[in-house]
């Protein structure tokens, strides 16, 4: 691993205050108003409480915003000529992907760490293994969204498109049952959207699949539904990214 490259990349993201606001400040703020400060936060759910449930949701939201941004900017910077500049060096495409993947994982740790820290001080409660397992699933699930960012970047080739892709995550997050418990037809539709499986899996150690609804517990998702959703969207993003990378190689 080229650690000098990694260090400078991390400094770049850290200096980008607008991104940092969406990656770190917004999920932490959402958690405080939707989770930590709510009296229903202490209600028990599965192996823990509702505050824990909200905490995992907001950390996942921050993490996918982070990885989408990293993936999208990688695509845009390569097409704006940085790929040609790197093509003049011994650095391989594989080494570049390794650096960017490490950056995505590292940056996704910021919202996870921050939201979990606030959770720990404001009453989120669950056994230790639930904390660890949910954080690990959020990280892995969010990594898939760096491919989503990559696809948007490759398709539209502009920084503003990547910004729009991050913005669209708010809609996907609603459909992913992250901000507000859905029910009825909306819930059925939601089960086919890309954030639904990942967030369901991240909450699984806590809830064993039980769904929160506005009037208490509202049904549950079997594990296979969540896995099928996550795997399908991972394959869609991966195939899309490979096809677009091939197309882009012709001439830049």
């Amino acid at each position: 691993m080229n650690t000098t490259y990694l260090r400078i990349e991390l400094a770049r993201v850290g200096r980008d205050l607008v991104s940092m606001f969406f990656i770190a400040v917004m999920p932490a703020f959402f958690f405080i108003i939707f989770g930590a400060s709510m009296e229903y936060g202490a209600y028990p759910i599965g192996n823990g409480n509702v505050s824990m449930h909200t905490m995992i949701s907001m950390a996942a939201f921050g993490a996918v915003v982070a990885t989408t941004g990293v993936g999208g900017m990688a695509a845009v910077e390569r097409m704006q000529g940085w790929g040609r500049q790197l093509g003049l060096t011994p650095m391989s495409d594989g080494a570049y992907v390794r650096v960017k993947t490490t950056v995505a994982f590292t940056i996704s740790l910021i919202p996870i760490g921050l939201v979990y820290l606030i959770g720990a001080f404001t009453g989120a409660s669950a056994p230790g293994w639930v904390w660890a397992a949910s954080a690990a699933i959020v990280m892995l699930g969010a990594a898939v969204f760096s491919l989503y960012g990559l696809i948007v970047g490759l398709l539209f080739r502009s920084e503003s498109a990547v910004g729009a892709a991050s913005g669209a995550l708010v809609i996907l997050a609603f459909l992913g049952n992250i901000f507000f418990p859905l029910s009825g037809v909306m819930l059925t539709i939601a089960k086919f959207t890309p954030l639904y499986g990942i967030i369901g899996l991240a909450r699984y150690p806590l809830t064993d699949g039980a769904l929160v609804a506005t009037e208490g517990v509202g049904g549950s998702d079997p594990l296979w539904v969540l896995l099928a959703n996550s795997l399908t969207w991972t394959v869609i993003f991966a195939v899309g990214a490979v096809l677009l990378v091939r197309r882009g190689r012709g001439r830049q």
Partner: protein, 310 residues
Amino acid sequence: MRTPPPADGAPAVQLDQVVKEFRSTTGPVRAVDGIDLTIGSGEIVAFLGPNGAGKTTALDMILGLTTPTSGTISVHGQAPRHAVAAGRVSAVLQTGGLLRDLTVAETVTLIASTYAEHAGIGSVIERAGLSELAGRKVSKCSGGEQQRLRFALALLPDPDLLILDEPTAGMDVTARRDFWETMRAEAASGRTIVFATHYLEEADSFAQRIVMVAGGRIVADGATEEIRTRATGRRVSVTFTPGTRAEALSRLETLDAVHAITPDGDRVHLRALDSDAVARAVLDLGGTDLLVTSGSLDDAFTTLTQGATR
């Protein structure tokens, strides 16, 4: 200052029947249409040609950024990608290719980290004249300063062959002069330098050899002196009355001073080195509305291309 390239005997660049086609909606387009070229170690060569002549595509292939549709390319006897990985060839590419949110020093550090060995971050920053700007964000650098940064990056592997694609595009006159001044120092240390340009003056003042490219082919290749004579010249335009026109044209065709004749409605455009002699002849033949202009480089290319395909 630098070690001379290993005496492996192979030329710096060798292109053999190289063709590059791109797919487009209207069918394949041949950007490079069969180029044979050998550039020896230590030569300073200009690729001169109008926009779209295939210069960038040819240089991209030498750098291993794209592969030829057919034909072979070697750089110091190696495949282009290997020569790049070994740090034997490096380049200053056309616009783009920098991360705007990094500083100058960070950019150099970043690219230096990709090489196992490099010429030294401080050293290349100084040689490219960037010491004052090391802490500045790339986005705050002028076009000329960004170009100097690309040049610093190209110096990192201490390459035997340095390729410059339109290196002074977007620079003002002073920046352009400073850039070539720096480049002279690098050439003096024995590097092979190949640069693409569409400024005749640049090729003229810096290159020892000019390779003229048009329509994906080499239309002229020779010492700078020789090419200059062929590429310069003037354009003489004149109107003939319908009565005198036919006879005048046939007379002009016999004149040695006239290099090319292009009828255009009532008017006739002539290309000539000795424009005074041609002007005199044209007036004697009853021509009116005489106009003598210095030929543009595009005109020169047209002439040379026609000459090459005739």
